[in-house]
């Protein structure tokens, strides 16, 4: 699954750049995203669009809500590695992520914004995403988790779903 949160790039370019990622391609618009209805209509041709209505939701909770909704009847479903991108991603970064995901089914990689500490990139290998405990992990995330809780939460995910040699 590919989740682009408030993408910067024009949608045709985004589609062309990320077309190879396996699974459903999703755009998640946060509460503050100023996107017109017409723009959403355009996006729907190539992406599944999630619109989050809650004010000031952390990236991890956006991920939670997108994935759990995708897993409900009528949702697009979830399989394969998961790439979450907030804002933008270069072609080189995308290709690198795709290679890593294909090579390492248990990969868990995160990048945080230097200025604000917001999670801007998350890569989860297929073995993590398709583990039933991943859904449990997301379900148990409490409402009100802030960006400051993300690193700790991901550490928990790593502890429980990534084998330790």
């Amino acid at each position: 699954m590919l989740i682009c949160i408030d993408p910067d790039a024009p949608l045709p370019a985004l589609r062309a750049q990320t077309g190879d990622w396996p699974g459903p391609h999703c755009i998640c618009l946060s509460r503050n995203a100023a996107v017109s209805g017409e723009a959403i209509d355009v996006a729907l041709a190539d992406f599944i669009v999630f619109r989050h209505m809650t004010r000031d939701v952390s990236t991890l909770l956006l991920l939670r809500d997108v994935v759990l909704r995708a897993l409900t009847p009528g949702g697009p479903g979830l399989s394969g590695p998961l790439l979450l991108v907030r804002g933008s991603i270069t072609a080189v970064e995308f290709d690198a992520a795709l290679c890593e995901a294909q090579a390492q089914p248990f990969i868990l990689g995160a990048i945080f914004g230097a200025a604000d500490g917001v999670l801007t990139r998350l890569l989860l290998g297929a073995a993590i995403v398709e583990n039933p405990l991943f859904r449990t992990f997301l379900t148990n995330l409490a409402d009100g988790l802030t960006e400051g809780h993300t690193a700790t939460s991901l550490d928990l995910l790593r502890t429980h779903l990534v084998p330790h040699d």
């Binding site: 509460r31 100023a34 599944i48 619109r51 989050h52 209505m53 809650t54 004010r55 009528g74």
Partner: protein, 825 residues
């Protein structure tokens, strides 16, 4: 301690096996909540044991009671007192169901079982017995691996909607295990039971669905609501995220109250219409909701015009039978048949008048109406039709006859040359379609039913005449040829598979999903109680996922929609956050108009809003001298200067306000360019506590409170501002006022498809120039409707929505103030 009776003790252990209560309380005669203890309750209620006997459901406990075992009643009482889920297992009392049905009991914090025993039973309050009595097995066994389908309707009666639902049940049963749910049963319940696996009858699905036996609603692959009588089933379906289609079998003209059309449309995943004619009546509502017509609706006629015929022998037999029933020899006379429950709607009176006219123009013709409803004591219709029939003559010796509904209808259609569909409005003209299948020509009024749908153009047996034109109908009937023998029509096709496939495809195509919750926790179907917060989130989320309009997710969403609009009105609307006015800044001069039809809250208003004292001029209008005197006394007590005027009771609060600006009124001259606040004490019939909350919402945002003013007065006094309103979390379209839009002339450009924002509740600040502009659009000589008026769709409802347009017409902006922490509902 005495030894426990063995059977009672054993039952206690058996029923509570695995329940932690058993460890804490091995003896049902000890422990437990004191307020629910058996002995004190028996002291209060001498007939407690009899009351308990009436509730028992567990066969073991019932046997114990039947045997007269000493502690049987105490055992039952103790079990029920444990609450859910034990209570519902052993009795017809379920505390969870009781509290869901009676929220005031929950709010009072009293033990539900205690309340029921001491009060509820005497008051006739509902228990699980009502639901359980409404569960009926069907004749069709459930089959392993079969998909399950729920079909819900209002009443299982003889209505066209119920007949349609029954046909759908029969069709669905070919491929699905069908459960039928209805709000009330009638004598035709058995027909539904014969066709399905089970029937649930409940007038309160929202309360009862949680108490259904486990598994009843599991694994539903398809849910269909037939007719707006099924609206009560919306809430439990939405609350469980169960998708569904709604088959809208009525024109919106006839659906009252309005929410019975609004909510099915708002929440349906697929909205199905029986004809383009019905769909057209819903178009305004769908436009208000922002419907994706192509994606979310389907026109699927339940029946089609299938020209057919009747074998000669059958035709002759039918005519002979009718001759016998009517006591005359029909012979070769032209036979014109009409049918339906006698009513203005069915045009029974028009049929009779056509028969009257035919006495001179077509003396050979015989007119026969088949239907019930001729109740000569009913002022709804029967009294008038009885008088009419007596005056013009019907029955023996005349050309007009009436037979009651029943099997004779089949003979009538087989025998008839023509069917006169005199209906004024008919969403399901199935009898007329059956008449065509039986070889009849059909004469109908254009625009009255699906017979006018374009798909029927060119069918030579269908003759549409101008609406209500009896003369034209008579001419068309005279021109109808005699029926010739013919072959039966092709069988009607099943529509259920088409509907099921359409719903499946609709759900599979969903690619937009709303998540989280917005800024405003306001109810739609669900109550505003804290316990229902999650349900309210689900219902809003469903609306937003369908991208329809009911509640703004946020003021930002409204701003975005205004910015995206190219309407000349919307370009001059903005949303601002609420602020309290700084106490020391000079207050702009303003006048305040209060229309006081009801005076109950007047004293509270005068004390509760500083604006009444801060106004340069306060005018209070009312409709009687007695009220005016009462108002003056209130003003004196509050030591507030104000002028009180009596106005005719016409136009609710709107016309009294506009009249202040009419030169002819004789009121001291009103400055056209002054700033005015307009509020009112009008209370609609049946105002609930939520109505009071809404009023406080508006008054606080617009005026402030007892000591402070809202900054609305400053915004309103700014250059370029014409109107200030409260930003309402609920959206509203033109609604019933849409029917009057074409009559509005004098605006610089067409009105937008949706108003988006307007002062809902008709309380606002306005520059006098904006009021004068409204008067230009609706001058004093306008034909103002008098009371009683409808709840929607009048010129007053239109004016409420046109205030931003009036301001924009002068190049003035309208500002709506958002106060997120002010409860709205």
């Amino acid at each position: 301690m005495t030894e426990l009776p063995d059977r009672a003790a054993q039952l206690w252990r058996d029923i509570l096996a695995g329940n932690p209560v058993l460890e804490q309380r091995p003896d049902f005669r000890e422990g437990g909540a004191p307020e629910l203890a058996y002995a004190p309750m028996r002291d209060r209620l001498a007939d407690l044991d009899a009351r308990l006997r009436g509730l028992v459901r567990h066969p073991g406990v019932e046997a114990l009671l039947d045997d007269g075992a000493e502690d049987a009643a105490e055992l039952l009482h103790s079990l029920i007192a444990l609450g859910a889920p034990v209570d519902a297992r052993v009795s017809d009392f379920g505390s969870t169901h009781y509290l869901a049905t009676y929220p005031e009991v929950a709010q009072a914090g009293v033990a539900p079982f205690s309340h029921y025993l001491q009060h509820g039973m005497a008051e006739g309050r509902i228990t699980l017995r009502r639901l359980r009595d409404g569960l009926f097995p069907g004749s069709v066994p459930r089959r392993e691996g079969r998909p399950r389908c729920l079909i819900a309707l209002g009443a299982t009666d003889e209505s066209a909607t119920a007949r349609l639902a029954l046909n759908l049940v029969r069709q669905a049963a070919a491929t699905h295990d069908v459960t039928v749910a209805a709000t009330n049963a009638s004598s035709h319940l058995d027909r539904f039971r014969e066709a399905c696996c089970s029937v649930i009858v409940t007038p309160a699905p929202a309360q009862d669905f949680d108490a259904l036996p486990a598994g009843v609603l599991d694994w539903l692959s398809l849910t269909l609501l037939v007719g707006t009588g099924a609206t009560p089933f919306l809430r439990p379906l939405v609350d469980r995220d169960l998708p569904f289609a709604v088959y809208a079998t009525e024109h919106t003209d006839e659906i009252l109250p309005r929410w019975r059309a609004l909510f099915p449309a708002l929440f349906a995943d697929l909205l199905v219409f029986p004809s383009e004619h019905v769909r057209a009546s819903w178009s305004g509502l769908l436009a208000d909701l922002g419907y994706d017509i192509g994606h979310d609706t389907l026109t699927l006629p339940p029946a089609t015009l299938r020209p057919g015929g009747v074998k000669g022998e059958n035709h002759a037999n039918a005519r002979r039978h009718l001759s016998h029933l009517l006591g005359l020899n029909i012979g070769a006379r032209r036979l014109v048949v009409g049918a339906g429950v006698a009513h203005w709607r069915a045009g029974t009176d028009l049929f009779v008048m056509a028969a009257q006219a035919a006495r001179s123009s077509d003396p050979d013709a015989l007119f026969l109406w088949v239907g019930d409803g001729f109740d000569h004591e009913s002022a709804a219709f029967g009294l008038w039709s009885d008088r009419h029939l007596r005056e013009v003559g019907a029955g023996s010796g005349t050309n007009l006859h009436i037979l009651p509904d029943g099997p004779v209808l089949a003979d009538a259609l087989a025998a008839a040359d023509a069917f006169f569909h005199a209906s004024r409005l008919d969403p399901l003209p199935t009898v007329a379609m059956e008449a065509v299948a039986q070889g009849c020509h059909v004469v109908a009024f254009s625009g009255a039913s699906a017979l006018s749908d374009p798909t029927h153009y060119g069918i030579d047996r269908l003759h549409c005449v101008p609406y209500g034109d009896i003369a034209a109908a008579g001419a068309a009937l005279r021109a109808v040829p005699r029926k010739m023998p013919g072959d039966p029509a092709a069988p009607e096709r099943d529509i259920f598979p088409v509907l099921a496939a359409a719903l499946t495809e609709r759900l599979a195509s969903q690619r937009y999903f709303a998540l989280g919750d917005g800024d405003f926790d306001v109810p739609i179907l669900v109550s505003n109680r804290p316990a229902h917060a999650a349900s309210r989130t689900r219902e809003r989320r469903k609306v937003w996922t369908s991208r329809r309009r009911m509640v703004w997710p946020s003021a930002d969403a409204a701003r975005a929609e205004l910015a995206a609009s190219d309407s000349w009105v919307h370009r001059r609307i903005s949303v601002s956050p609420f602020q309290w006015r700084a106490g020391d800044a000079p207050v702009p001069e303003f006048s305040l108009h209060l229309h006081a039809h009801h005076l109950g809250d007047l004293a509270d208003d005068l004390a509760g809003y500083h604006a009444f004292r801060a106004a340069r001029r306060l005018i209070v209008t009312t409709d009687t001298q007695g009220k005016a005197e009462t108002i003056r006394r209130h003003l004196d007590r509050a030591k507030i200067d104000g002028e009180v005027f009596v106005m005719p009771n016409r136009g609710r609060d709107i016309l009294p306000f506009l009249r202040l600006f009419w030169p002819s009124e004789g009121v001291s001259k009103v400055a056209d360019d002054g700033l005015w606040a307009h509020v009112h004490l009008k209370k609609a019939i049946g105002t609930s506590p939520s109505g009071d909350i809404w009023r406080r919402f508006l008054m606080t945002i617009l005026l402030g409170d007892a000591t402070r003013l809202s900054s609305a007065v400053d915004l309103a006094s700014q250059d370029g501002t014409g109107l200030i309103g409260a930003f309402d979390p609920y959206t509203s379209g033109w609604v019933g006022a849409r029917r009057l839009l074409d009559s509005v002339t004098g605006l610089p450009a067409p009105l937008p498809e949706r108003p988006l924002l307007f002062p809902m509740g008709n309380m606002f600040w306005a520059q006098g120039s904006a009021v004068t502009e409204m008067i230009r659009l609706f001058p004093p000589e306008y034909p103002w409707p008098a009371e009683p008026i409808g709840n929607d769709g009048t010129v007053y409802h239109l004016i409420e929505r046109l205030w931003p347009s009036a301001a924009a017409s002068l190049g003035l902006r309208s500002v709506f103030i958002e106060k997120r922490d002010q409860p709205r509902a």
